[in-house]
Symmetry: C2
Subunit: 283 residues, 2 copies
Amino acid sequence: MPILPITTVTDLRRVTDGFKSKQQTIGVVPTMGALHEGHLSLVRESLKNCDQTIVTIFVNPTQFGPDEDLRKYPRPPGDDLTMLEALGVEHVFAPADNEVYPSGFSTMIDPPAVAGKLEGEFRPTHFSGVATVVLKLLNMTQADVAFFGQKDFQQVLVVQTMVADLNVNVEIRVCDIVRESDGLALSSRNVYLSDQEREIALTLSRTLSHVEEMIHEGQTDGFEIVTEMRQMLIDGGVTSVDYAVVADPKTLNTAETISLPVVALIAAHVGETRLIDNRIITL
Amino acid sequence: MPILPITTVTDLRRVTDGFKSKQQTIGVVPTMGALHEGHLSLVRESLKNCDQTIVTIFVNPTQFGPDEDLRKYPRPPGDDLTMLEALGVEHVFAPADNEVYPSGFSTMIDPPAVAGKLEGEFRPTHFSGVATVVLKLLNMTQADVAFFGQKDFQQVLVVQTMVADLNVNVEIRVCDIVRESDGLALSSRNVYLSDQEREIALTLSRTLSHVEEMIHEGQTDGFEIVTEMRQMLIDGGVTSVDYAVVADPKTLNTAETISLPVVALIAAHVGETRLIDNRIITL
């Protein structure tokens, strides 16, 4: 039987109250739809680890800036449901905008300090929107565990810090980045890329691999690394670089002399498409 | 056996997990201590209506402005515990500041629009602090029901709106204002008042009674009412009036021509003590 998405908080609460009364654990995978293998890896983790799994599909308007791609963000709901059904997902929550943000809604999360760096410099209201919708979805679904991808590295930090700061009763699990065989990190926004842009987009993951090599070969000069990252991205044909840094994985602070572990993070535009990627580098 | 307060979130979670596993309902009464009969009326409601009751005692620094009375706020913990014990309370949560706000804490609630009026104009960061600590305490205690006093009328609106906006799984119950026999609303800050100031403080409740009379006698001109309120407060000897208004009880909007129900709200200084009081006026 095809999945019939739950669309109201009231209906969802009825379902989750049932799970709770049976002491079942609830795993939640928050998505904006346009699902790919990255999302599906999170769903599999939830199915494996939790008694019940709820996948949420909601393109959250509050995390898009005024000049961003909210309107054209891909929304293929039929495909999404088919993919989830094939995995054995039974519960999908896909609310309309006014169910999540009814008239008069006005409480937002002022996100933790780590939200102000990197993405926060280029997308100043982004993480307030992310933190608010994630907290709402966690409360709506009464989640015990929530699954996020390392692809959105800073988002994971923001969510983990918010959950700790606000004492939310949920465990955040982070799953590895899923890549195409040639290294491109999966992203719903990859569909925007032309064939030529897709080739250029490979520069992001190649640059991260190069950074890892440099560091493993003994390079510890943060400035040298970052200069080379930026040069490699430009040489590879990206249109512009928002940031290319090597930072502390807990704080996202950068340092003149790096000490492992670090995370290398890139945000760059390829044509009109903004892509992000990252790699954790350990000993 | 005297109550031994729980002081850490970990210990509290162990206790509340036990309640949850037995499907017991948890009532929470958030307080800043310095308990009086107003708080105790909330505690009795919780004891009557919930399987388990937790009283929290925490003087929340984030809701005090830099020029306010955080340092001198009354903190008589021994008395508080004796009073709670006499009522049959078994669970008190009294964390230290750094348990609620550990080093690195940085996520705050940007409270709903209704927080910007009245108190919000005079205490601009107050409701952000209130909303943040209330959300944290609700999450820490895993409350099913939380009890608040109508004395802090706007606070109740802020909390109710936040809970709705963020889909928090808790019911907010509001209990009537408790007054001395001469009409003075109970407040932990009443201990600051000299005998003479205590007499002047009665002007607040007398003014609210007068407003109710005026309205029941047919007065509908909002400006006339507010002018008379302010005059009566000044004539009664208050040092200054922060606000004296008649407003819609849902939005706190004021109107030229009032239509019931309304809430009359006052904040005034008596000497160095700031007092608030309110009255809901219905047909």
